[in-house]
Symmetry: C2
Subunit: 431 residues, 2 copies
């Protein structure tokens, strides 16, 4: 179909777990169709695995499998390197070596990018080759390319993502069935949506790494995982979710990146999202990223955030891109980037949902309200619910700074009548 | 920021209406930021308008405005042409002339692409320049680039889009308020969401042009507007919508493109979408495109389908791409395409919702059911509702072919007891 048939682009794959195995299967099955549609011929040349002796469901030419990942990178028979090992080392060294050898790299490693992104992009830029990573954020969802290219002329105001499938699954179960956090997590673990040690997901570490990558692309400045304010979902209760529902909201773990003047603010925390908001309809283990731009208005990208085949599909899209650029001698657009100036969480404003248990006696509400007043936090609505000797006070505030709200909570904890300062959720929506 | 500053890419704009005006404003305002972020310097060189004497809200250098669109295309001071005139001629001739002069073209003209796409893409391919059209389908939503590039290795099974904002607004009003079609349309017209002559929108012509473009990209074969089976929303009643709601569905006008073996099927019609489906949450004038791929699973792209600034934002993304390719000497990937083999509507299968008014007397249901049986159309559920002397029968069928359902309806119309064969809606969802 194409006049002069170009040579095949030979792919070296580092790591052959769920995603790597799916990628090799997909590549072998779809190579002829891809060649016909795009003119790019792809060929799996080498695959580095931990144990080459172990039987695998993929069919590879003899000698393709190796336990030595470094030999794949340096192999003159490998044109493009796909890194699917995860973790920082040896992935970082291998990716740097590949880039230095002028081999484009495709990676799905969010941790590596969130921690060492600047170093890797500099190496790619210096070598004049692609470093692509569509699969690192929101798995299968084409996101990086639209943000980086389609919206290259857009002034992005805010990006809000549901980027962790495990926590979204847990919150969906808690919302639909009134399940406790512990029960919903156990169900997610039984179904394989959550790991035995769920810390990285439920404490928001995974989402924070993705938030850093999203903010970097959206705002064109380097943001790293440490810049991200991070709260997980372990403190969210069925009562919080029920209150949110009654008020017309759904509770979601959001990764929010905002432009604040010339600074950026990046945070991961559970939030109340209006039920009519497109993010509220993102259920179970699905991911979605909602983008607000000055000219473009509101956009949302929705799809699977994990899974072997969906993630492999995103890797394959990058691989075709890198191979195409290798053949035509071009490459993707990457501009050098400055380090982000990060606005501290304490300086950000939001509406807040607060859930406070107090002793049920006269005068308590006045005392609590006085504390809010002292810190200039204005109350939009309050609901009181009797619980035997106690009462639960649920507040929604007007817009207030994190600093003032935290100061209010610190003072409330010292009030005699306050038994427990419970749920704190930021409220997303019209102000 | 970039070592050797490249020359500015000079943009010629054909048409300066809502989108053209927004583009010029956006380009002038964002050019420095775009240059810093992407290394691409853009400059508005010439703008062709119908009446150059008329005052405009955009500020242009003297001599930039002209009434002669042809002179913009041939001007050696124009490197890239943006066509925002709409309609087939003279847009077609101007675009062809620009491509022949090796100038990349960006267009938002869905009608032109749906009718003359093959000719234009051949001209672009022959000249070795870009022809980009992100804004032609679903306005601001980055869709073409993700479909064409991120999913280049994906076997797409089905694409379902809400691609017409006017009809989605009308259906949303009918759903939320129980409004009649006429009242909802009048409201849409009053708000500027529908034109005085709404035919192109409500009869599905606009959606059909976009469906042809989407099918072409998704399946890599040429599909034109005439290949698209087209039904509008004028026959949808509040009763249909209420029944759908009771059964857990929302009524939407869908543009559906499917791979059926080696053929494609492309159709626009109102359909019942499960309330839990992400497309059901797409409200008002918003657009969304839901993609089902073999490896990638389910994806959805959501955003504004029209409006000056949102559409201009999509045009600008293409413009940066075309300018970048012009500077580095590359260009987007376009493979030559075969004409699609289109599966006729009669051969497609679906579940159906049918709403039939009958005389309310014994034996009628049996007679009606017998007609379904004759044509092998199996009934999944039936509801009967008394209406004085009449009764309304509402059927949901099991999966049946369009041919068999249409034959059933034709026979039903000849039954004495049948007063009216009303709503026919395809039901999307688990089979």
């Amino acid at each position: 179909m194409f006049g002069s048939e170009p040579a095949a682009v030979r792919v070296g794959v580092l790591g052959c777990g769920t995603v790597g195995g799916a990628l090799v299967t997909l590549l072998q099955r779809e190579a002829p169709a891809i060649a016909e549609r795009t003119g790019v011929r792809l060929e799996v040349a080498r695959v580095a695995v931990r144990d080459p002796a172990r039987a695998r469901p993929v069919d590879l030419p003899p000698g393709a499998l190796t336990g030595d990942a470094g030999s794949v990178v340096t192999d003159p028979g490998v044109d493009v390197v796909v890194e699917l090992m995860g973790g920082v080392e040896p992935a970082r060294t291998l990716v740097l070596d590949a880039l230095k050898a002028a081999k484009p790299v495709v990676t799905a490693n969010k941790q590596l990018l969130a921690l060492c992104g600047a170093e890797l992009f500099e190496a790619a830029s210096a070598a004049g080759v692609d470093l692509l990573y569509e699969a690192a954020v929101a798995g299968a969802i084409p996101l990086i390319r639209p943000l980086r290219e389609s919206l290259a002329g857009e002034r992005i105001a805010r990006v809000m993502g549901i980027v962790n499938g495990t926590t979204n699954y847990v919150l969906t179960r808690m919302t639909d069935e009134g399940a406790s956090y512990a029960d919903a997590l156990a169900e997610a673990q039984a179904l394989g949506y959550a790991e035995a040690d769920p810390t990285a997901d439920v404490e928001g570490y995974d989402a924070a790494a993705k938030a850093a990558i999203l903010a970097t692309i959206a705002f064109g400045v380097q943001v790293v995982a440490d810049d991200v304010h991070r709260e997980g979902i372990t403190a969210v209760t069925p009562a919080d979710i029920a209150f949110a529902g009654r008020l017309g909201y759904v509770v979601k773990l959001l990764a929010v990146s905002e432009a604040v003047g010339t600074e950026v603010a990046v945070r991961v925390h559970p939030a109340m999202v209006p039920a009519s908001h497109p993010l509220a309809a993102v259920r179970d283990a699905f991911n979605a990223v909602f983008v607000e731009g000055e000219a473009v208005g509101e956009l949302m990208f929705y799809g699977r955030g994990a899974g072997g085949m969906p993630t492999a599909s995103a890797v394959l899209g990058d691989l075709i891109d890198a191979a195409h650029n290798l053949q035509v001698g071009g490459r993707g657009r990457t501009a050098p980037m400055n380090r982000a100036v990060v606005r501290p969480m304490a300086d950000l404003s939001s509406q807040y949902y607060l859930n406070i248990n107090v002793v049920d006696r006269p005068g308590v509400l006045a005392a609590v309200a006085a504390v809010f007043g002292t810190h200039g936090v204005s109350i939009r609505s309050m609901e009181q619910e009797g619980l035997g000797d106690e009462a639960r006070l649920v507040f929604i505030t007007h817009k207030a700074t994190e600093r003032d709200v935290q100061a209010t909570l610190a003072d409330l904890r010292h009030l005699d009548a306050v038994e427990r300062v419970g749920g704190l959720l930021r409220v997303i929506g019209p102000e």
